[in-house]
Symmetry: D3
Subunit: 293 residues, 6 copies
């Protein structure tokens, strides 16, 4: 079937290359939202981020770079089995295994935050010395939620158990159980509350030269900036601060090995401002992080 070179239909992120094989970087969606407790709908997030990318310029004045300078393929959303969390997580892990085997830089779009757990399982096999930067409103450090260990409240705890809490750096956290904040203090992980950009300046130098994966939960933004998310939490950062954080990481000496952006839920986004912001963050991540491996 014929393609048109500068097609902007909203079905793929703007400037996606036309084949998986030609690309160094792969964007993929993980449309899973079945373990959330409050307001679901993030399964439709990846598609809305793609659609909103139509409104973006291909050049970034933040990075002074153009999307044509890099090389990525938007592989669409995974076909996940609705309602079956365990099986979905297995599929995600295998999918990322394959991306890494093929030498791709993975950029995942959620979906609920639990999808980051199998991604990290795959990343850790390839990069056993990896660290995690986690930008979020919520600690996500629960051991279980209502008796369920596979929950959108547990991924960071599971990751701590896998890669060691001393390799986990959380920023912007403003919500969680008492036990989660206690764990953060005693386990050896790093947690910075409420702010992102300032504490990043402090911690990035410690991570210099290391393999680092970055996961961003869109709800780190205040609901004013990102109303379209499942568990909106007042008191968050601005879009400007998140852009600054992305730039700080781009300018750092980290070896970025992959990234994801999760929890965009279009049902609560009547003006599409959350998808619009998310698509800009993905552009900056593409331009700033993918050549730092």
């Amino acid at each position: 079937m014929e393609f048109f070179d500068e097609a902007y239909s909203g079905k793929v992120f703007i400037m996606s290359r036309h084949s998986y094989d030609d690309a160094d970087i792969v964007i993929y969606g993980m449309p899973m939202d079945y373990t959330v407790s409050f307001r679901p709908g993030s399964r439709f997030g990846p598609n809305r981020i793609r659609e909103a990318s139509i409104g973006l310029e291909e050049y970034s004045p933040y990075m002074d770079k153009h999307l044509e300078e890099i090389n990525y393929f938007d592989n669409g959303d995974m076909l996940l089995p609705f309602g079956n969390a365990a099986r979905s997580l297995e599929m995600i892990e295998k999918y990322v295994d394959k991306l890494l085997e093929d030498g791709k830089f993975p950029i995942g779009l959620g979906g609920e935050h639990l999808v980051t757990w199998p991604v990290i399982k795959a990343m850790h096999k390839k990069y056993p010395d990896m660290a995690l930067i986690h930008i979020d409103a919520h600690a996500d450090l629960r051991e279980e939620y209502e008796g369920e260990t596979l929950s959108h409240s547990t991924p960071v705890r599971k990751i701590c158990d896998l890669i060691g809490p001393e390799n986990v750096y959380s920023f912007g956290i403003r919500s969680g159980m008492r036990e989660e904040f206690a764990y953060a203090k005693t386990s050896g992980m790093t947690m910075e509350k409420f702010e992102v950009a300032e504490p990043l300046k402090k911690h990035l130098p410690k991570l210099a030269g290391r393999h680092v994966y970055v996961t961003i939960d869109i709800d780190v933004l205040d609901p004013a900036f990102a109303p379209g998310t499942g568990t909106a939490e007042a008191g968050g950062i601005t879009s400007k601060e998140l852009l600054e954080a992305i730039m700080l990481i781009a300018q750092s000496d980290l070896k970025i090995i992959g990234a994801d952006l999760v929890e965009v839920a279009p049902a609560y986004d009547p003006s599409e401002q959350t998808a619009i912001a998310a698509s800009k963050f993905i552009r900056e991540i593409l331009l700033g992080w993918t050549n730092k491996k």
Copy 2:
């Protein structure tokens, strides 16, 4: 990449087969909306129809049939060059040429109604004796709109010129210029105003045994049933009547050669009721029309 057999991610119409080659029927999106005069946005229609199909059962009590009894592949949206109507229409024509060459039954999702024009150009090459059933609120019989012949107000007129007005049957029409209604009266075409199901009963027998393509503009429904469309027009039919019309065609002696459903515009559809209705119409079309060739 691995697939899961009963995956329901909202990215493809439910129960889509996994390859183009295995399918007798192909669903495809034409995300074009650049010639509309009033409220654009139908480029996002096909995706929302797919998403809404998640809420459907696979069995229809109307047709007493199950989607597993048929065999279709959802080939996603075409990648059309944004803003370039002429080039987009060429691409659509070639795309449908290919579908027909491969022996597929085409089911198109719009996009604005102008997309039906290149589809018919392709169909007519294969079926020079074809007729058209056109279900719509608007006559779409203009010769031009603001000096432009490629407009969402002109496709049916162009089709009349190509296949002969005596082979065009319009139903449900409740809006147009005086000149369009005059053309309908004098050209030899058939136009039934305001209603769809009752007049279909009268005209279907005349078309028995013939090759017929059916195009449905979602705005034939009253805005109560389909608010999510560009040029909503009060005084339309109910979803029930459109379902009845689809059944009447299914039970007729026509040889259906293809179909499309156009003008779903999600921006005006805050409760998703238009996409929900459209996805049901597509299910019924799949079950009722695709084995009548």
Copy 3:
């Protein structure tokens, strides 16, 4: 300041002539909504009806007439003193006095239904033998509401007192106090519940040759067809039935002396379907009623 002849800015109803003096018919808005008990906002109704008229054709296949065949000026909204109901009503009465003095056919856009009261006071001075056709979900026959006689629940009762209940014909009524329905039965007025078109067929012949004013409350429609109104009431008629009612009146032997359409409230109309329907009703009223004087 210069005008452009075929300007469609949404500020005036489509095809408005350019001066008051050139027109036989005057459209005017009464942006008053301060006596409502439940959900205000109809003050913005007239503007949204004008905006929605952009989406209309100028020709009606219902009436087989074109707006260029008639002659009307959209005089915009009156500047009413916010919150001062008594003074607003005085101003409306004087405004309509002037329209009638100038020989204009008045078409009013509400605003809440109380605006019809001063309009009728003006009409009645010129046409002391007049009758009223009232199409509405609510009886509007209260003597007072929470101690206030100037309320959106009282206008029809006041009109009964002024022009005689035997000259008042209400259609489509499905809500009111027990006392209102009792008054309807015993006062000599005519009230037909739930339906509009069928009972109109019965009563229109009785009004043949008489001067009749028609007031339509958009909430006679079911909320499916007109969600954008202050006191939406389930169980109403369809847009199709209201179009049929307008046509029945157009084809009757009544002498229509003026009309209004009230209670469009844009705040509850996210898809604009109420304004879209209302603008079509106004087009049909313009084409069907204004030459019957």
Copy 4:
């Protein structure tokens, strides 16, 4: 704490009496929505129905009765354990046991449709000869959903097993699995597809003199009339037809022993039309069914 006699705060259904003990009829909410597969949110339905009741008159021209003629208490929503379906169902059953022990006529507000299952368990203990009238778009006859027998797709099947399929009458069904329609044909239950009022006329005489519980799923309405529901299904009935159905039951010789109205989901109801319609249905049920025991 002091009450005001004619208080209209939207916290209770209008004209609720001030104490449980003074009332013959009890309205209660069951804010449970955790087993739904598609779009949750019905847990907030009962509150919105109460709020919308502010816009209602206390008198019904359908029934020619006033709410002061009957005697009911709105007991608010039950406090159910979020996410624990089994425990919630137990609590509902015990709650209704108590209502019946106290001689109350129960009117339940959902919540998802599964809540009807424990209500019927309680009703059946008191009325072992009872029958069920079930008005719904969906058959709800599944034996399980994704391996779970406590699902919003299973309640009517469970009720058939308990009270005997020959005592179950379903109306308006337009969606379900092939197996559900097969069960409906072979089990001895009664199922009428697509329509409600006409088939009710046929079947009500058969139920004369019997104890009957009535459950209404708001999604029997077309999404035009009730967009605010989890699994909206195009092709449904109008609000007018459902009002007619309520009146037919009111005029019948049945002994009505209780009723519920479920699946109002405010998140998809931006104009509140679903809650507005539902509150009117509750008023008619209060006026028409509660003295037929």
Copy 5:
């Protein structure tokens, strides 16, 4: 009727104790909005704040405290007589009289800001030496509005007259009549424009040891953070700054005697972000202020 201990139904603020008698603190709603001039709807605010509390954690990382450490009962909304402002205010005053008599710490949810006036009348009887902290976009210092002294624009002026302007401290004010700002300058009251947290730092020490009531109008936030309010005013503070203000008061040496949060209007809050923010502020108030008496 049975309760479940950790019930989260959205009907009461999370972790409400089960009886009035067991609680030291009482949350109560004042669903009154009848004197507003622009956009009403705050009568539904308290309910939405309760619903949104479902999304909150019970532990606050701001205060490092858990809701189980305190002891409160959500007594629901008062049943106020719709449309009768004078009577409603009397009822509120008596209600708070009773709360104080019973030794409760009152936390009121509005409703329009006029509700604070009778609350202060009650507070002042018990604490004649009290001061007021007033956080708001609007001065609310009018002597009357359109001739009415009981208006949402007058409460702070009335309070100045009652407790002395020297005991009134307003923060964040960015809208009012010239006369109101003149009064603020000359009367002896304290008014800080545009900002809240910085000026609080300056003034809190002056109030050390005193009995202070705090009233917060949600519109002190910029409409970006709180669109869901009647008279949204651009140029406001962030949610972060209001959280900081609440913390400053919590850490101060004031004796807090009660508080309220008013003017949440759900009709303008399509993503629920205003209710979500308000529920968080209430949690922080519960944790930070209620033990400072």
Copy 6:
């Protein structure tokens, strides 16, 4: 027709004088949006800004001035020929020619940003030495867009060509093509990225004593503050910063000769917060800039 002196109908900006002749300042709308590439709808912006002005006070605590101190007439929207960009631009230029000839201070409301181009053509004829302050998210420096030089992406480039790039000062720019940023660097124009207030402090002194026109694109605000615009771009400034910028200009030594505010698009503004903010900016512009000529 009679006027009421303190009328607040939402049809004109609050406190508009009653005639063009009595006023020194003229507000006018330019409802044009036909060249936009992404989301149209700004044609309805001017009307919504007027409607939202109802919620404003007439006194500004920022400027310590009252609208009665100045003298302006809201002349409504121009009647522009829909779809004809070239003709519309001619009409706007002639319209502003006339305003300037009559000695009026023009305050334009857009519409898309292209409308500023003909305004500047008219201004430049009268003030050949003029400079431009341009506050926007987008550079608008393209030479053409999809082959079209009359596009919403080109106006500032055209203005540079006309008045000289050294007289153009852009602030807040965060989006554009690489070529636009290159032009900004090499052409001699001034461009400050991302921020507005701080860089204004640096550049305003350079413009002291000069004739300066100011154009504000509402999308300079972050979408949190102005979701209702066609090409929302994350990472923008706050309403507070834009108010500060307006005050800095008011306090400067510039000779302001006119201003406009463009790109308010109500379709994406469900809570009306964009129109509410825009109406406040217009009030401040009226109070702060119009006497600096």
